[in-house]
């Protein structure tokens, strides 16, 4: 049982940055923008957040700067795809290349200047320690499984829920969904398409950036690993998760933790003696492949049933040009 609880705990922790990335991308895709720059924006957030944490020792500033820098990257994407109507795939991929590149270069320079891997002070790290809720956190099993996480796990869940509620109940949410489905109809109904698209892309990008900072600061325990993959493909898993969660940030909470479980399953599966041997001894690569395989299956199923449960925004990946109407 202890093994299982440790596994559950680890799954939540590694699912959290995925949840940030997925929520951010859902916000962007709901307005019709398929931003393949998630990985790049997470990298930008990872460096910016880490550097600020290292220099200022302020948790608030670190994550604020991570949000703002990634949002700046998203602004670039928004300007190019929305105003200049460039191809979304190409622009997003370039944002990823650019984001990884610039963060690697700056991280390299930071490491050179520090004369070794920069390390955030333990005082800073202690502010991000798991929150101990008196009495509740010490309930056996439940306490460890649900009530003993660092603050950003809860923040990620809250953001995801808030965004799900916005889409479900608010007028703004309805407007964004309308834009994602049919921008010219939304435009005709008097919705400011450009403004909403910009806001969704930028705020979504900022949320991805927080996910990146979570990885560089919390997942990697406050040490910048120059040359190592800080974000290491989590941005791409987030793009996959958007499909898996069928464009719902509420479903993304569960999805992120399932995918989080897959990413750390390899360290725990061998200990689960209740499983048959052939599952316990399955190669690591199969577990790593599972998130992508599952996503593909979800993608296929949702397109085969497209008449019944089409959750993919109808104009996803297409630019809206008013004069084309």
């Amino acid at each position: 049982m202890a093994n299982f609880i440790n596994f559950f705990y680890a799954a939540i922790l590694s699912g959290t940055p995925l949840l940030f990335g997925t929520t951010g991308e859902i916000l962007c895709e709901k307005a019709g923008g398929l931003n393949l720059g998630v990985e790049g924006m997470m990298w930008i957030g990872a460096f910016a957040g880490f550097y600020t944490a290292w220099k200022t020792e302020s948790v608030f500033l670190a994550f604020l700067v991570a949000f703002a820098s990634a949002a700046l990257g998203a602004l670039l994407y928004a300007f190019l795809t929305i105003t200049l109507k460039t191809n979304q795939n190409v622009t997003g991929l370039t944002l990823t290349t650019f984001g990884i590149g610039i963060s690697t270069v700056l991280g390299f320079a930071m490491t050179e200047n520090a004369g070794g891997n920069p390390q955030i002070s333990s005082e800073f790290m202690s502010k991000l320690a798991p929150i101990e809720i008196p009495f509740l956190s010490s309930i056996p099993y439940i306490g460890k499984m649900f009530l003993n996480y660092n603050p950003f796990v809860y923040i990620a869940i809250v953001i995801a829920i808030v965004i799900a509620l916005i889409f479900k109940f608010s007028k703004t949410g309805l407007a964004i969904r309308a834009i994602g489905e049919n921008p010219s109809a939304a435009d005709a109904a008097g919705i400011n398409v450009t403004l909403h698209k910009y806001l969704c892309t930028i705020i979504g990008g900022g949320i991805c950036g927080i996910g990146g900072a979570y990885m560089s600061i919390i997942t990697l325990n406050g040490t910048w690993q120059s040359g190592g993959g800080v974000v290491g493909g989590y941005g791409w898993i987030a793009v996959a998760l958007v499909i898996f969660a069928s464009w719902s940030s509420a479903k993304a909470i569960i999805g992120s933790f399932i995918f989080g479980a897959f990413t750390c399953l390899q360290y725990y599966i061998g200990q689960f003696s209740f499983l048959p041997a052939f599952i316990r001894e399955m190669p690591v690569s199969i577990y790593q492949m599972l998130p992508f395989l599952l996503t593909t299956i979800v993608l296929i199923i949702s397109s085969v049933n497209s008449k019944k449960i089409s959750s993919e925004p109808h104009s996803l990946g297409l630019n809206y040009f008013r004069e084309d109407r």
């Binding site: 393949l36 200049l84 190409v90 991929l93 990823t96 290349t97 610039i102 270069v105 700056l106 085969v304």
Partner: protein, 364 residues
Amino acid sequence: MADLTKKHEPFVRVAKRTQVSTKKSVLLQISAFVLAIIAGGLFILLLGENPLEAYKHIIEGAFVGSVRNPLSSVQATVVRFIPLLIASLALVPAFKMKFWNIGAEGQIIMGGVFSTYFALFHSDWPHAILLIVMILAGAVGGAFWALIPTIFKIKFNTNETLFTLMLNYIALYIVRYLEAGPWQRTKGYASIGSIDDNARLPEVFGVHIGWIIALVLMVLMFFYISKTKQGYEISVVGESQPTARYAGMSVGKIVLRTMIISGAIAGLAGALQVAGIDHTLSGGIAGGVGFTAIVVAWLGKLNPFYIAGISFLFSILAKGSSTMQTQLGLSASVADVVQGIILFCVIAFEFFINYKLIFKKKEG
């Protein structure tokens, strides 16, 4: 009424240009490149390095070889150029058809997997036959990997961008599985080891013959796209599927055929990488080439000759900056930053080629 529309006319609006002079378009492209190089230089300056020196190191790193082998750097640059050019060419027909195949990475990997099979288990075949079979197997592997999302696209209109993206990762983990599983050379060490000498491509001018294949493909692709009936069909489907249907074309068949070609060429790049340079199969076989190829194909406006030029430029950047990293205290990822800036500048400039701004007329 007239007053009302005038009042609501925005200060500036955007309209598509119908005709663009080639001269103007080339001029804008070149100025975008120059601007990008300057912007990249400023970035290097901000990092406290001399941008001129950094660029000098990049150029030297890409062209000036060692004393023992003065051609070594050029050869290394060409080695990077081959897969990038082939993968970019692979995307030309797909993108022309507006089929957003971003799965070249996975198709390269699967090409590598299929050709490695013959390198590992049939290394006793006659040299020429083995190499031909390996290259063909690579093409089959790539085509197979491209076929899966294509069939679903045709049957159920499954989003091909997301599907091909997922297949990249599935292909990667298939290689990881083979490395640590059935094809493992030494127990406990995740590698398939080197392939037999018999399965390696010969070299011409110190670089494996893939460069000849790449250049031939470039010319063939140019003719295929612009001079053949099939190439014409691809453009019609890309412009408007209803038009293609109305003209009696079988859209499904054309999409299928085009994606087989696209995937096969990408797979070929994977086979050449295995037989020509890596001499093994590893997770890094494609190393992001499939993604860079998307950018290259786009920058080159799907023209095989432009694409070759841009592939070469990007290869210089990549090879040169890896040399620069060892000489200056500057990460080789500077290449990615400069590449990103180039593309951002070019696509931003492209806007002014394709659209014009119409300002609100002063009220008279």
